[in-house]
């Protein structure tokens, strides 16, 4: 499953890039994220509760950040297990582009693979839900970046 979109964040590119590496901001932005533990600069452990309608699954996962080409390009990979509900793995590449008006254009390409019962039973809903969750993440993220910028 492939997802892509772009979002305009009204802060400079460096701020956005830094935020992408900030576990606190990430935790606030990831929908349902309960805990994000930093093991190193690039290794994170996450606990996320995914709640969609009647479905509720708690995922434990590891995220590896890859600051490839600061401040323009950033990627991450991750995998998580949701017990009986199944598991997920995937990654995303984020590209940032400074706009003339001082804003930053964030473009992402994500790919996710879902396994286990979630994939078996929810395949007709996964694509739309993943799209929504990704959008939610980036809108949360944009908000968090602005809050940080303004504080």
């Amino acid at each position: 499953m492939d997802l892509q979109d772009e979002i305009l964040i009204p802060t400079p590119i460096e701020t956005v890039y830094a935020a992408l590496n900030d576990p606190e901001i990430l935790q606030d932005s990831i929908p349902g994220c309960e805990e994000l533990i930093k093991h190193s600069d690039t290794e994170l452990e996450a606990k996320v509760t995914l709640k969609i309608g009647p479905v509720k699954a708690r995922f434990n996962g590891n995220v590896t950040l890859n600051p490839e080409d600061p401040p323009r390009r950033f990627s991450l990979t991750g995998e998580g297990s949701g017990g009986a509900a199944g598991f997920a793995k995937g990654g995303a590449t984020v590209e940032l582009e400074q706009q003339p008006d001082g804003q930053t254009l964030l473009r992402y390409q994500a790919r996710a693979e879902i396994g286990g019962k979630l994939a078996q039973l929810g395949s007709r809903l996964i694509q739309g839900t993943a799209k929504k969750l990704a959008a939610k993440f980036f809108s949360n993220f944009s908000e968090a970046v602005q809050v940080r910028e303004n504080s």
């Binding site: 309608g53 509900a85 839900t129």
Partner: protein, 284 residues
């Protein structure tokens, strides 16, 4: 398939039900017919600690027709819709759609409220409610509020209903003119591969009003304003139907699943929408 343990509540009024929702928050869920929720619980995809059964709450099973206003309680079943004479006269599209939902046993249990509140894009009633421009009544800690069906759905399973609210009923105007609920499915009882609800009134030889909505062609039900506009004032000839269908197709966003790839769904959606319009017009 055995669900995880939960506590069962059977309040006798809506206040008590709302109180339970407030007390237990996210851990609680209301149960109407249960035919979406219980399978999910059995598959252990839904872990619910408090199940609040609405069956004893008075008034939720009523169907009331006051002049041209129709009110349907959340616990009215699909079977009730099918057998209700008043509805057959005032909004026959309900019966036509309800007969295409699931199978007889499920229709005895499955409720209108559950079907619209669940937020599953596969459910048929939400699409129908778009076409009818229905209003949903949500009871909450601060009293009742109304939400238009066309504003209710956000994405799959995500709706305007807050966790501490209960959808208690729906309201819409009696329909006039022609109607059709057209649904293609893999087999009887299945979710739609594509479905369309169409209402049309006629004046002279022309379309006076139209409403076109679709089921399972996006992660929410879709009401297509543009499709209706394409029909307005036309004689509902082949060109008008083609234009309306093209407009409707611009509003959908189907995803691939076991029913087929996106390209197929778009094609079928076009056929189903055209057929629904033609049939509604023929009855107008």
């Amino acid at each position: 398939m055995i669900p995880a343990a939960f506590e069962y509540h059977r309040p006798s009024d809506i206040e008590a039900a709302l109180g339970l929702l407030q007390t237990h928050g996210d851990e609680a869920r209301v149960l109407a017919g249960g035919h979406s929720l219980i399978p999910m619980m059995k598959l252990r995809m839904a872990a619910i600690e408090h199940l609040i059964d609405l069956r004893d709450i008075a008034g939720l099973r009523d169907i009331r027709i006051d002049g041209t206003t129709i009110r349907i309680g959340a616990m009215v079943t699909q079977a009730d819709l099918i057998t209700h004479d008043g509805l057959a006269r005032t909004a026959p599209i309900l019966r036509e759609a309800a007969l295409q939902i699931a199978d007889p046993q499920v229709r005895y249990m499955g409720t209108v409220g559950g079907n619209v509140a669940n937020g599953d894009p596969g459910n048929d009633m939400p699409g129908l409610m778009q076409a009818l421009d229905a209003v949903f009544t949500l009871a909450g800690p601060d009293g009742d509020r109304d939400v238009a069906a066309r504003d209710f759905y956000e994405s799959a399973y995500m709706t305007a209903r807050e966790d501490d609210e209960i959808l208690t009923g729906i309201r819409f105007d009696a329909t006039a003119g022609g109607y059709a609920y057209e649904k293609q499915k893999r087999k009887i009882g299945d979710y739609a591969t594509a479905a369309a609800a169409v209402l049309i009134t006629r004046e002279g030889g022309c379309v006076k009003s139209a409403s076109v909505a679709m089921t399972n062609l996006a992660d929410t039900p879709i009401w297509s304003r543009a499709a209706a506009e394409a029909l307005l004032g036309s004689s509902c000839d082949a060109d008008a139907i083609r234009a309306a269908t093209t407009a409707a197709l611009a509003d959908i966003d189907p995803t691939e699943d076991n029913r087929g790839p996106v390209e197929f769904k778009r094609h079928v959606a076009g056929i189903i929408i055209s057929r629904a319009i033609a049939r509604a017009w023929s009855r107008a």
